[in-house]
């Protein structure tokens, strides 16, 4: 709980320098200054995660299974060998500070102080673009009491133009921008404490794609948009700076995500020098081409076209296996329009309810964001008009003073000046308040962005389900074909060599497909579990974030309203003689 409220607000009247000092002091005693992760919030998270601690472990186990099955990571990833399951399982137990629920937040929660007294002091400050992490940021530790607090600090800076030296026919070649990405960490897996690499935006896209594939069902923070602009615009400083800021925000969000931050993909991205070893996302066109090439073969040699178990770990869409893609497409049509219900379907009522609520929430978020925007505009207008009024009075004051013939005019001019100065100050205060308000409302936008991640995670689930359903249909059709063949060949004594061979092939196919089916079901369950955990996590985070946002917003409203009131009260005091005169 906050201390007596009256203690807080008078502090607002002190100078900026003093505020900085206080910041320093509080910094020492409190590890967290991120407005989104205040102490209380971390505690909430800790409690949330503390309960499904086992869930965390089992998730890790399924991650490890997945990893061992995954073959698409290129071998250069051997630098960080696939982490054996036990390591993953133990890492959270030992070093994940989120699971230390025993921390009590100190009474002087820093979020208010940050909010009021340092309007431009962002607790997660953006680096100033010079490669320096300008302020200390502890992202994931609930308090300095925990000795094994982990951190992963990232900053993006120093954009530079580089030329694509490759086999381009056009002289001069393509130019692109790279950014310096500096990381500082004490996470053991990283095998070092400071790293510095150069990456271009394409690399970020690759990272994001690999994460989507590797972490299906997880609410992965969405990456910055690709911008479809001319190359000239691409090189303009404003654009580059904007992109740098977005990249930094994105990477920091990844580093904050309890699951993603442990990913190999992120680690590789942040640490490996030179060319990034993650496999690039070959664009859809060439994949389609590849798939189209394979398709005729698949159709002709039908019995061979089974879905390998490891393939089911990826969605059909966007993959090379066109036949599989078409089969799943057919299955989805059957689902929607067929007469019978599929054997396995989304029956998790909880999930369905949650989904409904989330989409509703999305609507409300959009609405709230719109209203927030008008509020910001209204505050800005207010500040402007107040300022204009002040200026008009200042002009009047000068005028009266210059033209004064009678003393009463000078008196009036002095009164007017008082009012004018107060109006100008109030205008400035409104503007400051607005700057803070904008920052608070960032939370809304963050969460709106996260909705996209939620959409993706839920569609991971439905496409995995579709895979399962498709395989089941496949199996049943294989079985019926096998049956037919059996009954047909049993009529011929001794059997038909070709038929027998066909039957053998079918039995093979059935076996493989069974395996694939089990794999697909496991994958589906894994994704479901991810969804569930993430949904819970997000709910908790969202709740905490919104409470903090509102707290911050309300606190700054209080602080600034009081300051504005004080300014006017002074004027009222100085002009009170007119009131007294008029009353006697």
């Amino acid at each position: 709980m906050m201390g007596p409220e009256t203690n807080k607000y008078p502090r607002g009247k002190r100078d900026e320098e003093e505020e900085e000092e206080e910041e320093g002091e509080e910094r020492g005693s409190e590890g967290i200054h991120h407005p989104l992760y205040t102490a209380e919030q971390m505690q909430t998270l800790a409690l949330d995660d503390g309960i499904p601690f086992n869930g965390e472990v089992s998730t890790s186990k399924s991650y490890s299974n997945y990893r061992s099955a995954m073959t698409t990571l290129s071998s250069s990833a051997a630098e960080h060998p696939l982490i054996p399951p036990p390591a993953i399982a133990t890492t959270p137990a030992v070093s994940d500070p989120l699971l230390f629920p025993s921390h009590n937040p100190s009474p002087d929660s820093p979020s208010y102080a940050d909010v009021i007294y340092s309007p431009f002091h962002d607790s997660v400050p953006e680096s100033n673009g010079n490669g320096e992490i300008s302020k200390e940021v502890k992202i994931s530790s609930p308090g300095s009491q925990s000795s094994s607090s982990e951190y992963l600090k990232i900053s993006v800076s120093n954009p530079q133009k580089e030329v694509e030296s490759s086999n381009s026919i056009v002289p001069g070649g393509n130019t692109y921008i790279t950014y310096l990405i500096t990381t500082s960490t004490n996470v053991l897996d990283y095998g070092g404490s400071d790293f510095s690499v150069r990456r271009r935006f394409k690399d970020v896209v690759t990272l994001s794609d690999r994460l989507s594939e590797g972490y299906r069902g997880v609410f992965i923070p969405p990456r910055p948009d690709k911008s479809v602009v001319e190359s000239q615009v691409m090189q303009k400083q404003e654009f580059v700076e904007q992109r740098r800021v977005e990249l930094e925000k994105y990477l920091r969000r990844l580093a904050r995500h309890p699951v993603i931050k442990k990913s190999d993909e992120l680690r590789v991205f942040l640490t490996v020098q030179g060319r990034m070893p993650l496999p690039t996302s070959i664009d859809v066109a060439s994949r389609m081409l590849d798939g189209a090439v394979r398709l005729p073969k698949q159709l002709l040699v039908e019995s061979r076209s089974v879905v390998e178990p490891q393939d089911v770990l990826h969605p059909a869409k966007g993959g090379r296996d066109m036949l599989r893609f078409f089969k799943e497409l057919k299955q989805s049509v059957v689902n929607d329009w067929g007469n019978s219900r599929p054997l396995v379907e989304e029956d998790d009522k909880e999930f369905l309810k949650k989904k409904e609520k989330l989409w509703e929430l999305e609507q409300h978020l959009t609405n709230a964001s719109k209203q927030a925007e008008s509020l910001v505009k209204a505050q800005q207008d207010m500040g402007e008009t107040m300022g204009e009024l002040g200026l008009a009075f200042i002009k009047l004051t000068k005028f009266e003073n210059e033209q004064a013939v009678l003393n009463t005019q000078r008196v009036r001019a002095a009164d007017m000046k008082t009012v004018a100065m107060a109006a100008v100050k109030a205008s400035r205060l409104y503007r400051e308040l607005n700057a803070q308000t904008v920052k608070h409302f960032d939370t809304l936008h963050e969460h709106m962005g996260l909705m996209l991640a939620v959409h993706n995670a839920f569609s991971d689930r439905s496409s995995a389900l579709l895979t399962v359903q498709t395989l089941i249909s496949e199996l049943s059709s294989l079985h019926s074909r096998a049956e037919k063949l059996e009954t047909a060949s049993s009529k011929i004594f001794g059997g038909d060599k070709t038929r027998i061979r066909k039957l053998e092939d079918l039995k093979d196919a059935i076996r493989v497909t069974e395996d694939a089916k089990s794999c697909a079901i496991r994958e589906y369950e894994r994704i479901k579990e991810n969804n569930r955990i993430e949904t819970q996590r997000l709910d908790g985070e969202r709740h905490a974030d919104f409470v903090n946002m509102l707290k911050g917003f309300v606190t700054s409203q209080v602080a600034y309203s009081e300051r504005i009131a004080n300014e006017w009260a002074k004027v009222a005091e100085e002009t009170s003689k007119y009131a007294k005169e008029s009353s006697s």
Binding site: L389, A392, F546, K551, V554
Partner: protein
Amino acid sequence: MLNDISCRSRKSSPFAGTASCTPPRVILGPARLIRLCENKHDITTINEQQKSGSAPFVGSPRSPSSQSPYLKVSVSDPAKMGNGVQAYISYKVSTKTNFPEYDGPEKIVIRRYSDFVWLRDRLFEKYKGIFIPPLPEKNTVEKFRFGAEFIEMRRQALDVFVNRIASHHELQQSEDLRIFLQADEQTMERARSQETGIFLKKPADLMQIFKGVQSKVSDVVLGKEKPAEESDPEYEKLKNYIFQLEDHLAEAQKHAHHLVKRHRELGQSLSDFGKAVKLLGNCEESALGNAFSELGTPPLDEFEEPLKDYIRAVQSIKATITERANAFRQNCELAEAIKFKEIDMNKLRITRSEKLGEAQHEYEELKADGAEAARRFEKIVKLMNEEIIRFQEQKTLDMGLAFHEFAKGQADLANGIAAAWRSLLPKLEACSS
């Protein structure tokens, strides 16, 4: 004390904004106020003016029953009359006085806006040199809407108008004022319809006008195009001041007007945001949502009206400046005419014409007129000098009070907002722990 009056909204500048139970505070004279409380028709102080004019006025006895002369007026009870295009608003004008010229200590009459206009025009005619208190705008379009706020603001402005007249040492003696305050409706209507500039002027005045035109024409013909104008540098300075002042005030008033709008918009968007946040679910957010809607800001018309009043007063001064210029020109023209007449007369004397007698008669008349014009002009000058001082002092007090009220209003508003927000913090705390 200004806070005496038991009304919830403590609006106390001359033209408080909202239509709800607002006791209008009226600012008059350089040093004293008459406070009128609509609800009680209870006039608690009077304004006793000394006849000396510009000197600060001495304090006033409180009780109406004292023997010193008093004249108290109030404008109240606006009522819509008539239908459609013919519709207008009528006001009740109540007078309490012990002036001997008035019949009876109390009188109530019904008047409409054009009656007030009549009064203003009459006073303007008769009391040249005095800054006639300004009337609220005509607003022919807006009056059709007859919004409650508009009617109330107009009523207050009319109330102030009449009281300023009643408390001006010269104007309060006006017969037209007496007619306005006392006459029955037919008389009033007759008087009002007669007031149309030209028709009111005596034939002699008409001649003056023609003569004026004539001399102007001859001037032009003779190449003396420049109309006579005062060249007193101090007066020039004053005129400059007045004109520039109006511009400055207009700008300030524009922003004050916008400020009202901004306050309203801010209140609205706060409440909309609250509603949107409420939908985001959970206990604290709905509590917040409610609080947001309660934070709607009250309209703050307080500051705009005093500025508007200031501007109107300046415009009234401009009208007086015009009058002075007219009087000056008349004076000059008559002086010229007298000179020419003299020359004529001398000519006639030499030729021993029989027209000499007639010419002499005319000459005498001209001289009398000339003396009259000179007197008029000098009176205007003297009055204006006094009036300017009175105006400046009055305005300092008016604006001082207006500033005070505005500052208080802003402070109270901001404090209210701070308190309302603060009350939410414990709830938010509870929700996060």
